[in-house]
């Protein structure tokens, strides 16, 4: 089980970008992390991986995996200490594979680090079969540029699985793919999660994908988790006005309204996040109390929770 407690990620200059983020992921569970570009989703995932760029660091909170603290460990340090592993697949399958090494070499490299007892070539073949790459034996000898985007993303998943992870982070893994390929890759991730008991953190800004794929959702805005909930209650009755705003932006095929809804204003830059609730300047329900101080945690039914003074569902106030 991955447990993230009060994670703070800051620029070296001291500006926090991700603030007090907490969540947990059980084995076999898919948690969707939703938010706009720049909301801190990707930095949260890189922090979990131990892959933050040198200009950014974890400045608060802790990350534990099956009880072992991994907060400040880079991937190779985690391997050396034998702690549990977090693997990741990235948004851009076209640039995430080394162009001058064969697919097989890139998978086997991970196998040798994480699976020293196996025969790398056999295990690589097994992994390519597992991610449903046809003619796997032949593809092991291919170079990345010889594969399509969907195939490359499958190879990325195979590399991630070669690390025998407890947790798989998927950072918008289907954004760069065709719609039909998207669906196959999503199906693959869900199957593997169930079959191998891997917990998945699925990062996306696509609420449609969230509804198809995951059981739980965390909504991020300006570096803060504003709401976490199971998928069904979240879509039926969001607590936080930002979540509600996102839902309202989904196109409704039955509506005659020619324009799609939008949330007025834009998300604040990381160096200009207002005091109090970061969403207050754009929020239709905001009052003066929202603009300073800490935000109350509001709990709804079925584990739904939001940080808001004026949540939408009155009955949910506990």
């Amino acid at each position: 089980m991955l447990n993230v407690e009060n994670l703070v990620v800051s620029l070296r200059s001291g500006i926090p970008i991700v603030r007090n983020v907490s969540f947990r992921i059980e084995p076999g569970e898919i948690l969707a992390l939703v938010g706009e570009s720049g909301s801190g989703k990707s930095l949260t995932s890189l922090a979990l991986m131990g892959l933050l760029p040198p200009s950014i660091a974890i400045t608060g909170g802790r990350i534990t995996l099956d009880g072992a603290e991994i907060t400040h460990l880079a991937p190779h340090q985690r391997v050396r200490r034998g702690c549990g592993k977090v693997a990741m697949i990235f948004q851009e399958p076209m640039t995430s594979l080394n162009p001058v090494l064969r697919i097989g070499e890139q998978i086997e490299e991970a196998i040798r680090m994480h699976d020293p007892d196996s025969v790398p070539a056999e295990r690589a073949l097994e992994l390519l079969d597992m991610v449903r790459i046809p003619d796997a034996a032949h593809q092991l000898r291919a170079y990345p540029h010889e594969l399509s985007g969907g195939m490359r993303q499958r190879v990325m998943i195979a590399i991630a699985l070669a690390c025998r992870p407890e947790i798989l982070i998927a950072d918008e893994p289907t954004t760069a793919l065709d719609v039909t390929v998207q669906r196959q890759v999503l199906g693959l991730i869900r199957d593997l999660c169930e079959r191998l008991g891997v917990g998945v953190l699925f990062i996306t800004h696509d609420l449609g994908v969230v509804a198809q794929l995951s059981e739980r959702v965390a909504v991020m805005y300006a570096g803060v988790l504003v709401e976490t909930a199971d998928v069904v209650p979240l879509f039926r009755a969001p607590l936080h006005p930002y979540t509600a705003g996102l839902m309202a932006c989904l196109p409704d095929p039955d509506s005659d309204e020619p324009h799609m809804a939008t949330i007025p204003g834009s998300a604040p830059r990381a160096d200009a996040i207002p005091d109090g609730c970061p969403f207050a300047p754009r929020c239709p329900r905001a009052q003066s109390v929202c603009r300073s101080g800490t935000l109350p945690l509001v709990r709804g039914a079925e584990g739904q929770a939001a940080r808001c003074h004026f949540p939408l569902t009155e009955g949910a106030l506990a």
């Binding site: 190779h76 391997v79 990235f90 080394n98 001058v100 991970a110 994480h114 991630a160 690390c163």
Partner: protein, 315 residues
Amino acid sequence: MGPYILRRTGAAIATLIAASVIIFAFIHLIPGDPVYVMLGDAATPDQVEELRERMGLNEPLVVQYLIWAGNALQGDLGQSIFFETPVTQVIAEGAETSILLALITMFWIVAFGIPVGVLAAMRQGTWVDQGLSGLAMLLASVPTFWVGLYLILTFAAGLGWFPSSGYPSIFEEGGLSNLRYLVLPSLALAAPNAALILRLTRASMLDVAREDYVRTARAKGIPPYRVVLRHILRNALLAVVSAFGFTFAALISEAVVTETVFALPGIGRTVVQSILRRDYPVIQGVVLVIVCLYLVINLIVDLSYRLLDPRVELE
């Protein structure tokens, strides 16, 4: 790969023909008549005319060119006016020095430029990087002859570690130990080029380090030194390899200066002296040979580039 080499060789031959025309035309545009150089000021017009006729200088330029090019194809680059021996022999006499000088220089360039460039990139922003990059900037800016003179002053005249000038063949007395004569010249010649390769390696390493696939490699948990060697350096070298063709061109022109400073009996010094003597068959011959070498080296660089990078198609 076969058709690619053929096409590439065809292009090289076309370049060679164009270069030969330019070489020939330029030499004949230079003021100064070789016949007067050979005969001296006191020559009578009859003597001059007779020699011109004998050397074929009265033929139209096109005919002269065709004769020269035709002979060159058969390995005959004409007679040196000054030495009165075949040009090929003049070139062959300087070849040992020049080839050894080039090889040793290339060794320094690769042995210093690439590893130090990697080190600077890995220590980006620290005093190590700033010191190395500053040194590289200095070496790249200082003229070769100055570096040469300074090396002579310090290591030959001052410390007496290496000889200051000349080069007896390794086939003469002393054998391979004669190579010590080439240490200072090759260092002088390598300095600016190694500095360029250093800076290129550093810049290329930093570029590649930002690539997504390097993050993928780190995510696998492989040790940092392996990420650097296998994933960053391997790709960064693609840019460095393609620069070696240009480095070679720089070596040729700088070798002329270096061989003069160190009084080495190489091809570069022969060219300089031949220009002063209006010994145009030698100039033409040497430049033509250099063009051939340059084309061959670039062909090799291109082919190796295509072997290193699987994305480049070889059809």
